[in-house]
Amino acid sequence: DQQVKQNSPSLSVQEGRISILNCDYTNSMFDYFLWYKKYPAEGPTFLISISSIKDKNEDGRFTVFLNKSAKHLSLHIVPSQPGDSAVYFCAASGVRTSGTYKYIFGTGTRLKVLA
C-alpha cells in the first residue's frame, strides 16, 4: 500500500516557466513533509520541508504548499532553470503524532527543464 504517491513519473517544463510537482498521501497521521532532489549518481539532497501546522513554506525559488484536507502537497519552482533537472522525491513522516522517525518516500518525479 503506497502511502505517499507521486502520480507523475516525469514532467517537462520550459526554462523560466513554473514547475509544479505533486504528491498525495493517505495517512492522516503524517505531520511533516519534505522534498528531496536527486541528481544521477548522487544521493538525494534535502530541498524544502513543511510542517502540518502550516500551509505554505517558501525558500527562494521553491515553495511547498500543503492541503491537509485533500492530503496533497505540491512543490512549485519559479522560475525553472536547467540545473533544476533532476528527480524529485516527496517524503512524509509522523514524528510528532506517532513518534516514528521513519520517512515514507514517494516514487519520484523526473523533472526536465528545457533550455
Binding site: A41, P44, A91, S93, V95, Y101, G106
Partner: protein, 110 residues
C-alpha cells in the same frame, strides 16, 4: 571530510555470496537509515537505527542484516545475495527533522 560516506560505490557479486555495504557519518547523529532505490518503487526503507545497538526493521528487511556497534557506523549485510537485491543502496543519517543521504552504492548481483 565531514558528512556521510558509503563504500564501496560500486559492487558486482554473485548469487549466494555475502556482501557488506559500509556507511560512516561524522556528525554523531543518533538516527541512521538504509534505503534501496528501485525503478517504480522510489526509496524504500530497509532498516534503521535509533542509536548504537538499537536497530529496527523498515519496509523491506528480508535478506538483510544490520549492526551498529558505534554511533558513526551502520553496515548493511546481504547474507546470501539474490538477483532481486540488485539495486542502488543509500545510507542516511538524521539531524532533527532532516535526513542527509550518502552518495549511494550500486550493487549488481549476477
Amino acid at each position: 571530510d565531514a558528512g556521510i560516506t558509503q563504500s564501496p560505490r560500486y559492487k558486482i557479486t554473485e548469487t549466494g555470496r555475502q556482501v557488506t555495504l559500509m556507511c560512516h557519518q561524522t556528525w554523531s547523529h543518533s538516527y541512521m537509515f538504509w534505503y534501496r532505490q528501485d525503478l517504480g518503487h522510489g526509496l524504500r526503507l530497509i532498516y534503521y537505527s535509533a542509536a548504537a545497538d538499537i536497530t529496527d526493521k523498515g519496509e523491506v528487511p528480508d535478506g538483510y542484516v544490520v549492526s551498529r556497534s558505534k554511533t558513526e557506523n551502520f553496515p548493511l549485510t546481504l547474507e546470501s545475495a539474490t538477483r532481486s537485491q540488485t539495486s542502488v543502496y543509500f545510507c542516511a543519517s538524521r539531524s532533527t527533522d532532516t535526513q542527509y543521504f550518502g552518495p549511494g552504492t550500486r550493487l549488481t548481483v549476477l
